[in-house]
Symmetry: D2
Subunit: 350 residues, 4 copies
């Protein structure tokens, strides 16, 4: 079988990681890279001297390349992905897939029309810890999920013309959708622009999912500590995923409050607390990005829809777009009208 | 000089701590305790056999008692404090001082009319860590405060007819007011009632203080981990107060983002990050409650207004009342009209 | 039934804790305290005004007191315990029971002759975490115990004429004997006297127990961090007890190295590593000292030998005495001749 | 200037890291690799397709290679380094340089005779944290160093015919020599062979340095937790280096015990404890191995003696050899006769 041929656009912060993984995958041949910066191109060809290196990604279209991997700044995602799809390339694009719903819709239509794979780099869906959490929730071990609280903060990289919501929250929204298996119905957001008047660098999202499940997302570029923490509170057990921990990432707490069988007014006198064991399941720590890259190649080879498909990317963008609206309108709670059929969405006060 | 004579009402969860501290203070004589529960009274008189123990706090009025310390469930605070003040006793009442602004206003008027000390047990204002934070902010070391994020969660004690907002958030609102030296102007709140339909056990508050300072408060009775964490982010430095740490409670991070001298569109290219030392200042770990109890006695003896006065208690209640309103109205952002003169307040959409 | 009557000698560092626990025990009456320091006596009678307080413990002999609790500096243990036993009092004495084997032998003989309870305050034998460890080892869950490593260090209280070995290591030696169910056969020790030429403030002990079980004890008064950590390494699983952790004190690691069924020279190629789950069992956190005090009273009432008997205290002293010998002789390894019959012991090079 | 040409022998565990660093260094050309395993060679040439890959390191001698980097199992170090030196190649060899003093002496003589660079991969001497510790000690900030305690344990890689002493302790001995600027004078060691009868997998070393400085080293392949911790206790301040911490690796404690100006018998009453601030200095986290590789190249180009020279490697081996002797003789304390001139050493009971 011929190897899948790949070109990588953007070799700045995240691109080299994608490049390394594709280089090391069997049955893949990385043919070329594109980056506007000469220094970055030189650094990459020093490591991988066989690569064609160009400032113009359009050069890919004249090379034997089947798939483009796009790791450029988010404002360029739409135009680059569109061009690549239009030239018949499969596309893996970093998150967020685009910066608005309309563009994401368009990319999906384009890919579907041409039978090309469109995948978005929601890396955490390929993370063994997140996959374990999904399994645990699905198994019923936690009981009904009451709420999920996520914190993703540190002293972060400010990006030009992009607020922290679009930079960090895609991770959390994609994780929430993945582990809960559904999309949020309502969202509100508040935050602050501390450093630059027009760049929100601190944000809090409140999300309502079906079945009265609540989620809260805290993202910030301005925190002195790196925190990557997700707490899932269920009616039977509770779970914490701390991604900063090098090994013991997931902890399952056999803790909870036992409700009386019927509810009456003397609530507190009837409650009992359960403080049981804590279990830290062993995780095989495969690099999530490796699994993601492999999944992209398999989707191309098998002609299947990837897990983090362009449609999933679209739904994450839909939530972020509404969150951004709420952020700009005093934190009003907004409904998210997910529409399976293509074309538009609607905003309305919740 | 004669000792100040004290009686303690309520010997359940927190009362024994107050009792112990007043017993061990010099120049104080604890005369009596009141608790409806016979077992609790017996446990206290076993430790302090000289105490008059009664189920009826009204018995205090016939004893040589100058000051009442009230550590009963919050819904009883108003009636008990009112009765004690009307009988000429100075009052130290646990937080929250009352469950609505009107009652808090009334207690303050009563105390002021009679020249009695009315103090609320905002313990954290007597905590060496919190006092250090206030000093550091005031010194300008952190630069301008951008925002304060607080988390106060664990598997908590549900209380009858009282949501988590009124149970835990008084600590955070009183700390925020104390360290910033002002009251919030706007508030919104969201949350969930996971265990009982009518008892909110998870809440998030968004607060705006003067000078564009933002605060966010996360309180929960349903978290598997005990977290007591306050992050203060300033333009020059950042600070974290972790109250769960046994010794190293406050950390000052010489970290930040240096803004360029003028703001233009290529924001990101001009920013520089500062990652400097971390300083953990030594704290003398005096029991905050001891300092609080002593302060109450001194306020009585010297006829001075205590730090956490009834008026402060009122302002905390004002914020909580508005937060509760927001919680019940889809998280709408509400203005908080603080009024220095007595009598009323107003709610309006922000 | 009449309550057991108790007097406490020494109200300095640890005595008040013993006093509080005995005061709060049912069926116990604390009658008197003895302390040379007037301030300490006053502090105690302020809390417990009914107590007879005296500088002369001999006054106990004229009071209706059945049992003496001795919490004075170790050099006084022997004389005080001897006098109390001779006057017919049951004795609970803090660790170490004495500072040499001969004295410990003598106290045991005295107690046995008179049918009095002689107990030593090896608190950790009443600690739920240590008891759990003993159970886990006994259950075989860890497999064969290979070795136990203990660390007990912090910036500590120097004591007059007493080295760190006698101050801190009694805890570890008593824990090791308790969880392994046997006494060490050999010991060597090294260390340093950093602050005062004649006071060892840092020490390392190497102990060999029966069945080739090794233990190593690190004690120091000069460490910047408080560490209280015991690691038990078994052939099947491993366990860590971290007493500084407020709640999650014991962790069981399903980790290990699988030996091949037969041993040959290509050892490494045959080994497999097991990295499994970590379990943190829930511990009911009862105060160990409460359990210890209760056990003392029960031993008196029932006429039974306590768990941490005078004989156990003697065996701990035997080990410490040999360790001290080793420390003074260049760390030579010494045999510990435990002799069930009374009278003497022998030192010899291992 | 022509680049320095390098060949790497051994591409197993550590070799690929050396290879990556030399590949990325400017003014260096990696020409070839040697490894007996075909799979490893293939993995490396997949990444760096221009490399000559051979199972026979002797092939290097026919290639334009100036320097050999040896990352093979320790028992092969001597023969490989000898052969490379004899063929006129500069040598960087992984630690320990050899498995006995005689061999290390011989390598040094060989290199010196031919004017070749002989360097040993004591990586920690190029670690910014260790360098900071050396600076802090040298500055006098800690006062006189009383003792250094090191722990380097985890579930480790057993190696064929090599005990844990030779595998892990070279790090600690080289760090100790580097930060103290001198060699130990005496050593004793104890330990256990838990898994295989003849392979010590747990060891404790006690070392005496000049000026009464004590060090203790704990190494183990059988600990459930990864610990990499060095504590330096000085007369003025104390320092902890925790290499498992991702960022905050070094903490300086302004803690200590103030001795009275003259020493008398009432030691304890005169001592005062100082519990001051903790400072976590910012560390620029450059990869130590990069600095090490660069230093090797510079030593070749400039004809200078490297920091971790063959002589330093020899001294570390001298200490380990004596420690191993002690381990096999009941932990006897042994003198280490360091001899600046070549040729032999002597063992004698301390």
């Amino acid at each position: 079988m011929n190897p899948t041929t790949v070109g990588v656009i953007g070799c700045g912060y995240w691109g080299p990681n994608l490049l390394r993984n594709f280089v090391e995958l069997p049955d893949v041949e990385v043919v070329a890279i594109a980056d506007l910066d000469e220094g970055r191109r030189a650094a990459m060809t020093r490591r991988y001297p066989w690569l064609v290196a160009t400032p113009h990604y359009q050069d890919f279209f004249g090379l034997p390349i089947q798939a483009a991997v796009i790791a450029t700044p988010p404002p360029t995602h739409y135009a680059l992905a569109k061009d690549c799809l239009e030239h018949g390339l499969h596309v893996l694009v970093e998150k967020p897939i685009t910066l608005n719903v309309r563009d994401a819709e368009h990319l999906n239509e384009l890919a579907e029309r041409q039978g090309l794979v469109l995948m978005v780099g929601h890396t955490f869906e390929y993370n063994p810890a997140v996959r374990l959490i999904k399994e645990i929730i699905a198994s019923g071990d936690l009981g009904d999920v009451y709420y999920i609280d996520t914190v993703r903060v540190n002293l972060g990289l400010f990006q030009d013309h992009l607020n922290v919501l679009w930079d960090l929250a895609p991770h959390d929204v994609s994780i929430l959708r993945y582990v809960l298996g559904c999309s949020p119905r309502q969202v509100s957001a508040c935050g602050a622009a501390c450093i630059f008047p027009d760049v929100v660098d601190l944000a809090y999202l409140y999300l309502e999912f079906p079945n009265r499940v609540i989620a809260h997302v805290h993202v910030s570029w301005l925190d002195p500590c790196k925190v990557r923490r997700i707490t899932v509170v269920g009616s039977k057990k509770m779970l914490v995923y701390d991604d900063v921990e090098p090994v013991e990432k997931v902890r399952i707490y056999d803790k909870g409050i036992e409700k009386p069988s019927y509810t009456h007014s003397y609530a507190d006198f009837q409650l009992s607390y359960r403080n049981g064991d804590v279990l830290i399941p062993h995780l095989k720590l495969t690099e999530p990005l490796r699994i993601e890259c492999q999944h992209f190649v398999e989707s191309i080879v098998n002609g299947t829809t990837p897990l983090s498909s362009g449609r999933d990317g679209l739904e994450v963008v839909r939530t972020l777009e509404m969150a951004d609206s709420s952020l700009r309108s005093n934190g009003n709670r907004l409904l998210i009208h997910e529409q399976e059929t293509a074309g538009g969405f609607a905003v309305s006060a919740a």
